[in-house]
């Protein structure tokens, strides 16, 4: 017969809350790669693109949104070399889907195992207070944080190494081929955000798909001014690109908060004041 004293009840509660939080971890998105930007010059001016790629417990999910889409779609349709460009993109995007399983899947298994392990350790403490079990729980939890913040992006880079090194996202985006964009320039900077990183970038170049060879030969150093050859065909894009753990990470972070119930605050206060 288990003696459900105050301590046991607290530990039972901690286990139940941990199970609920870990269930929430499994039900929500784990890691998010999000890119968004806006065309600021050229035929697709004002069009905005947003791409979201999410790693989840059982697979991955994505979303793609074009707002103020008409100029962008008309531009894509009007480009002479559009089909050649997209077919090269297609090769990239499909190749990533072939390879994007292994390393990321290992991390998925690891996080799931850590969650189950955490619940087992905390549940054991209901029945028997082995020494160092709470420290072990903390170690498991910290390992989980490392997997969320470092393991997943690392596994993604292993799975999609070629694409990322070329500046592509794991999902398709209209990253231009520099040959198609004379005077193509890109500048970027990186900043640390909560749990992840964000890249801000500006890209621009003349769209050769809308220019004759004679006009291409007459192009001047960007940025062009109104009246210059290629001014209307000069495409500029500003955007940012972030990699960070998403909602499930917050649930994982919240797990040890419930452990604070176990602290005997009165005794702690008395010890502190007696000193």
């Amino acid at each position: 017969m288990i003696d459900f004293d105050y301590k046991a009840r607290i530990r039972l509660l901690i286990s139940i809350v941990t199970i609920i939080l870990f269930y929430s971890v499994l039900q929500n998105s784990w890691y998010e790669i999000q890119g968004q930007g806006e065309f600021t010059m050229g035929p697709p001016k004002e069009s905005k693109l947003k791409i979201v790629y999410e790693i989840e417990s059982a697979g991955d999910d994505g979303a793609f949104e074009i707002s103020r889409s008409t100029p962008f779609l008309k531009w894509m349709a009007s480009r002479e070399s559009h089909s050649n460009q997209t077919s090269s993109e297609e090769t990239k995007s499909t190749s990533q889907s072939d390879e994007s399983t292994s390393a990321t899947d290992y991390v998925r298994y690891a996080i799931k195992i850590l969650g189950v392990l955490l619940i087992l350790i905390l549940s054991t403490r209901i029945f028997h207070d082995y020494p160092h079990l709470l420290k072990l729980s903390s170690f498991v939890w910290l390992t989980g944080i490392l997997l969320f913040t470092i393991g997943i992006p690392l596994s993604l880079s292993m799975d999609n190494g070629d694409e990322i090194s070329e500046g592509d996202t794991p999902v398709e985006e209209p990253t231009p081929d520099t040959e198609e964009f004379p005077f193509f320039e890109i500048s970027s900077n990186m900043e640390i955000i909560f749990g992840g990183v964000q890249y801000n970038f500006n890209a621009s170049g003349y769209d050769s798909g809308l220019l004759s060879q004679e006009e291409i030969d007459q192009l001047s150093e960007p940025p062009p001014v109104k009246g210059d050859v290629g001014y209307d065909q000069f495409v500029a894009f500003e955007g940012d690109f972030s990699l960070k753990p998403s909602k499930a990470f917050n649930y994982w972070l919240a797990i040890p908060l419930i452990w604070l119930f176990e602290v005997d605050w009165r005794r702690l206060y008395e010890t502190y004041t007696s000193r």
Binding site: Y6, Y53, S83, T86, S93, E172
Partner: protein
């Protein structure tokens, strides 16, 4: 002497201001109709001898012959309100208007108002399943669509003391919105592969609005077109008036019973804001099963674009007014003499209507929804990876299954049953629409639609000046006179689909439904935690 001079001056002044022609349209010169779309089933059966429920039964029964279970359900609803009224401004408050040549005129105003409110909804659902040893499908499809039309147009025509048209102003706002949501749940399966649709949805919304539409039409010289139309309505010598509205020196000539009226109709200038929007949103699409990258799971393409535009165009058109008959009637509350003119003659007010109603063309040049859809289909084809897709295996399984045989059986049965049904035939042999002209106020004040059934003419819309048998559709209500004025005022206030359809607003949902259940669960958990911790040991 001074007093005499002042008196003469005032008399002269009043002779300038006093319109030579002073009759006004009846105070309740209004007509309109409402249609309740929930009666569409009955009216379709009445008008075309087609029973929609019977058609559904035929499809469901034909499905059984093809070893398919098909169940179809649908609901239709909504309302259309259309009202048109004509009134004259207070003649004691004359206004100065400058015509296209720069000449100033003191004018009276005749105001024609059009109010249109329309919103319908249609929901349909279909369950279908079929299967044999090699392939099967089992789907629940749903379709919900609503549309909304709001149009307010006010046209103010200006007349000088000789009842000559100086010009007109138009003010308008309008909106068209269409929303469509398709849902699919189910599975298509082959021997070893299957594709599952789990709450897959395709939302497609499309809209166009115009606002602050203000345009002014000023003729270069006053036109006596309304006086000449009245001649056709009241004289036995003239039956047709042909109005050549261009850059002519104002004049008229008569050949037989046709009077030709030539006018210098000047310019139309103005401005308006116009915008369009579309939203194409595909969610929970099993992209990977179709060999597409995962971002196709949720793809959204939207645009919401607006701009302001100017109008500066010449007013040039040619129109004929065909007199038909003259009748006395009191349908507007007082007995007057009305003349009917064939068709819907292009009056100055109707001429101006075209500008707000076609203003979409400017903004639509920016939007090309067809190319948007084409671009996405092309994109999907380029993204398609046959090695990742189960589609080809499924196609092979379906090719080797009995689906084609069963579909043939379904089609044969459907055709056989359809042949047994009554041939759809439009109930009426002929129809005719008239413009109703008030000979006293010299204005078009209403319209009338007559239809011919079994050799007999009947009146279906309007005042029924010929006292024909009244024909009515179950969903249709027509209004004239003061009743129409009241209805028009009510309709003008309707701004949402719910208001047009007479439904409860969304804000009136029950408090219970609005409770945030996930937050409540967390609150219960917090209370449980506190209770557990605070409870002392026994």
């Amino acid at each position: 002497m001074r007093l005499l001079g002042l008196a003469i001056f005032l008399m002269l002044l009043s002779s300038v201001f006093l319109p030579a022609y002073s009759a006004e349209p009846p105070s309740n010169a209004s007509w309109g109709f409402e249609y309740d779309w929930s009666h569409l089933d009955q009216d379709t059966e009445y008008l075309f001898a087609v029973n929609l429920e019977e058609l559904v039964s035929v499809i469901e029964e034909a499905g059984e012959k093809g070893d398919m279970n098909i169940e179809i359900g649908y609901t239709l609803g909504g309302k259309t309100h259309f009202y048109n009224s004509v009134e004259t401004s207070d003649s004691s408050s004359l206004r100065e208007v400058t015509d296209g040549s720069g000449d100033k005129h003191f004018v009276t105003e005749r105001i024609t108002t059009y109010t249109v409110r329309h919103s319908t909804f249609a929901t349909s659902s279909m369950h279908t399943d079929w299967g044999d040893a090699k392939a099967s499908f089992d789907y629940d499809l749903s379709l919900e669509s609503t549309d909304l039309t709001i149009i307010d147009i006010e046209i103010i025509e200006f007349f000088n003391a000789n009842n000559e048209l100086i010009g007109a102003d138009i003010i308008s706002n309008g909106e068209f919105q269409y929303t469509n949501l398709m849902g699919i749940d189910g599975q298509i399966a082959g021997r070893n592969t299957s594709i599952e649709f789990d709450k897959t949805k395709l939302q497609f919304d499309l809209g166009w609005t115009w606002s602050n539409f203000e345009a002014s039409w000023r003729l270069n010289s006053p036109s006596s077109i309304y006086t000449h139309i009245n001649e056709a309505a009241t004289s036995e010598d003239i039956d047709t008036v042909a109005w050549d509205c261009d850059f002519w020196e104002p004049s008229n000539e008569t050949f037989g019973d046709v009077m030709y009226v030539y006018d210098d109709c000047g310019q139309v200038t103005g401005s308006y804001d116009s915008s369009y929007n579309y939203d194409l949103h595909l969610t929970n699409f099993p992209a990977e099963d179709f060999g597409l990258p995962s971002f196709w799971n949720d793809i959204r393409i939207t645009d919401d674009y607006g701009d302001d535009f100017d109008i500066d165009t010449t007013a040039s058109f040619y129109e004929e007014f065909y007199y038909n008959s003259t009748k006395k009637d009191d349908f507007l509350g007082e007995e007057r003499t009305f003349a009917t003119f064939d068709y819907l003659p292009l009056t100055p007010a109707l001429f101006l209507l075209q500008y707000p109603l076609t203003s979409f063309s400017d903004v639509m040049e920016e939007m090309d929804i067809e190319s948007v859809v084409d671009a996405e289909v092309e994109e999907a084809e380029e993204d398609y990876d046959s090695e990742e897709s189960d589609l080809e295996y499924l196609v092979d399984d379906f090719d080797s299954s009995n689906l084609e045989r069963d579909l043939d059986r379904f089609t044969e049965e459907f055709q056989e049953e359809m042949e047994k049904l009554e041939e759809p035939e439009f109930r009426y042999e002929d129809g005719f629409i008239y413009g109703i002209w008030d000979t006293e106020s010299r204005a078009f004040v209403s319209y009338q639609l007559d239809i011919k059934e079994d050799g007999n003419w009947k009146s279906i819309l309007g005042p029924n000046l010929d006292n024909y048998e009244v024909e009515s559709l179950s969903g249709m209500k027509t209004h004239v006179g003061s009743e129409s004025v009241e209805r028009q005022q009510e309709a003008e206030k309707m701004q949402t689909s719910d208001e047009i359809m007479g439904l409860k607003s969304a804000g009136e949902e029950s408090t219970l439904e609005a409770l945030p259940y996930p937050n409540l669960l967390w609150a219960v958990l917090v209370v449980a935690c506190i209770a557990t911790v605070s409870r002392p040991d026994d």
